[in-house]
């Protein structure tokens, strides 16, 4: 950190350079009037390759602002609460939670599904948008990928701690040779979860890290301080920007994207199998896999917006993560909101149409029963409020969209809560019906997991580039040759 001296350049010099650059670029591109059919303007005029580097690497190369320390203090305090509640649960038992007999799964699994869902947006933005050649993804993909990893880390805490004997669960869930000669049950959706989520974590990590390598190399080469150079040097694995490497890298990255896309669909499908393969009415539904995936994308985009709006403001990245990016994300939010809205109504319709009395009852109970408050919170946050985004003003104004994306996060948490609690608390035999009330430990674990997430996020923006500069550069106007070289 001792070398966090910025590359000083006199303001005038810089402006001049930029003007010059703009002029040449315009010329090269054959400037013309913009039309509405044009792709969105992803870069401000005057952006250069170097200016991107400088903007993106500034937070990494300078001391953080006071605000960063305040935020870090708060989030790490929350993280402390998480680990306290974690330890308390292990020492005392699951009894310290609100779970009871019909409602065997409470907030822990809600949080698990919630965090996994958050994570999915990262992969989606990175992989699916990459496959679809959506250039606007470049500004947010790195951050979204990091968010995936942190969200999966948060999610992974819950399946472990929610078991009654976590000290055994962590290795009994792995098909490892043992003295009992007994293996795991491959028919259990929970075991599918173990494989799906750990695969997802590994793939996300590798995908994210491969994306980071060129940027780490940039950081290495910009570093003045020896230690910094050493660390980034080791981490960048000797990346030299060689085109012989880029050739495989590009292909591999495409393959990663191609693998991550079905993976992300499969992971949330597998998570939904936890419920869909059960016999409990309200869980046993075939609509769950697509419904969960759409919900995951929905909540993930909302979470990306929630964090990235603060981030770009904090680090003055508005010119790279532009309002147009936010607007595009809001469009995805509208689409996915409609999908989940469709799923909600379809669940009710099918429950009625099926004629199965237990199924019908569960959905009537969701809408009108003791957890109706949660159901309607979910519907309002997820289906009603996002419709405001049809209005352009709401899509583009940060102040107007921020409450909406926050509420989508809330709503998606409620969605999982509704699915888990309302289905379990009243199932087949009325004799076992009961209600679920959380305890302070439940709340502490949820708030604490937020702390864990934001702590990791803050460390990430402090030490690693939060925008993929090499990818940004590649899609900059004028960055690619105007005529493609071929065999002449």
């Amino acid at each position: 950190m001792s070398d966090s001296v910025l590359v000083e350049e006199s303001e005038k010099e810089r402006q001049d350079a930029r003007k010059e650059e703009i002029a040449t670029r315009r010329e090269r591109m054959g400037a013309k009037e913009a039309t509405c059919l044009d792709p969105p303007q992803l870069f401000e005029e005057g952006e250069t390759l170097r200016s991107i580097d400088e903007a993106v690497f500034k937070p990494v190369e300078s001391f953080p602002k006071f605000k960063w320390y305040v935020m870090f203090a708060i989030s790490s305090a929350c993280m402390g609460l998480f680990f306290f509640c974690f330890a308390y649960t292990i020492v005392e038992g699951i009894g310290v939670w609100g779970n009871n007999n019909p409602v065997g799964w409470g907030w822990a699994i809600v949080n698990f599904v919630f965090w996994i869902g958050i994570g999915h947006a990262g992969t989606l933005i990175s992989a699916i948008l990459f496959l679809m050649r959506q250039k606007w993804r470049t500004a947010i993909c790195r951050f979204a990928e990091a968010m995936t990893i942190f969200a999966v880390i948060c999610a992974l805490q819950f399946p472990l701690i929610h078991t009654g004997r976590p000290w055994l669960a962590w290795y009994w869930l792995i098909p490892a040779p043992n003295q009992n000669n007994i293996w795991v049950n491959f028919r259990s959706p929970l075991l599918w979860d173990v494989f799906a989520v750990s695969t997802y974590f590994m793939i996300s990590l590798m995908f994210w890290y491969s994306g980071l390598i060129p940027d780490l190399a940039s950081l290495r080469d910009r570093a003045k301080n020896g230690w910094r150079k050493l660390i980034y040097g080791i981490l960048s694995l000797g990346w030299s920007g060689s085109n012989r490497a880029w050739r495989h890298y590009e292909k591999g990255y495409l393959l990663f994207a191609g693998l991550a896309t079905p993976l992300v669909l499969s992971v949330h499908s597998v998570v939904s199998f936890d419920f869909a393969t059960a016999v409990i009415p309200g869980w046993h539904t075939t609509i769950f896999p697509p419904y969960f995936v759409a919900g995951a994308v929905f909540s993930g985009f909302a979470m990306v917006s929630t964090v990235i709006i603060i981030l770009r403001h904090q680090f003055n990245l508005q010119h790279l993560i532009r309002d147009v990016h936010l607007e595009l994300m809001n469009k995805v939010i509208i689409v996915t909101s409609l999908i989940v809205g469709y799923a909600y109504s379809m669940e009710l319709f099918i429950a009625w149409y099926s004629g199965a009395m237990y199924e019908r009852y569960v959905f009537m109970n969701r809408v009108m029963g003791p957890f109706a408050w949660a159901y309607w919170s979910m519907v309002i946050c997820n289906v009603v409020i996002p419709q405001l985004l049809w209005i352009k003003k709401f899509r583009t104004s940060v102040l107007l969209m921020y409450p909406i994306v926050l509420l989508v996060n809330v709503g998606m948490w409620f969605e999982r809560f509704v699915i888990i609690s309302t289905s379990l608390h009243r199932d087949f035999l009325p004799s076992s019906w009961d209600y679920f009330k959380p305890t302070w430990v439940d709340v502490g674990l949820f708030v604490g997991s937020m702390g864990l997430f934001f702590t990791l996020t803050l460390l990430f923006v402090r030490f690693l580039p939060s925008i993929a500069t090499s990818e940004m550069k590649a899609v900059m106007p004028g960055a690619q040759p105007t005529h493609h070289g071929g065999k002449h």
Binding site: S218, K251, G252, G485
Partner: protein
């Protein structure tokens, strides 16, 4: 200071079009040991350098199929052969239930294969590079492009190479020297 050993020649460019042109020139000149260094992947450069499609997908596919085989083998052996635990009235080899894990392992093995390929084919096991020693690396990872001709190439001689680069339109040509003594092992 003793005469330094020349390891290559680097031609620096500011414009991707010029780079493409230069690459085509070098390619046509028949060089084998040379490379382009860019801050981001430049479209068309592979062709300009005369490089074919990457062979990565075939290796990855093989890795993926290994994953499928491993998953089915593991699940089948553990559930139906080694210890036959009867679960929920299902057959011992109840394959529909094994599909999710098979898919996940396909992806996982493919992912590992990609990473392994990265390390091997992108030479991510090699930290040293002559560009570091000649202060060119910082430029090519930021905003400039370089065509590097290695001294190891059969056709390489410093003068010919320099003139080739000049012909390709390069105005900033730098000689790459071997600067560090690497004889000792540690």
């Amino acid at each position: 200071m003793a005469e330094k050993e020349v390891v290559g020649l680097a031609g620096m460019f500011d414009d991707p079009n010029a780079l493409i042109h230069a690459a085509e020139t070098v390619r046509d000149a028949g060089y084998k040991k040379w490379d382009c260094h860019t801050p981001y992947p430049v479209h068309g450069l592979d062709a300009a350098m005369g490089l074919g499609e990457s062979f990565l997908p075939y290796i990855v596919l093989a890795g993926g199929f290994t994953g499928i085989a491993a998953a089915l083998g593991m699940q089948g052996w553990m559930s139906a052969i080694d210890y036959q635990v009867v679960i929920g009235g299902k057959e011992l080899f109840s394959w529909p239930a094994f599909v999710p894990i098979t898919f996940e392992l396909f992806v996982l093995f493919s992912g590992f294969t990609i990473t392994a390929c990265f390390i091997i084919f992108c030479k991510l096991w090699r930290w040293n590079h002559p560009l570091h020693d000649n202060n060119i690396m910082a430029e090519v990872t930021c905003d400039r492009y370089a065509v590097v001709l290695e001294a190891g190439d059969d056709k390489f001689s410093e003068d010919k190479a320099r003139s080739l680069l000049e012909k390709a339109g390069c105005s900033d040509i730098r000689t790459l020297f071997k600067t560090q003594n690497d004889d000792s092992f540690i």
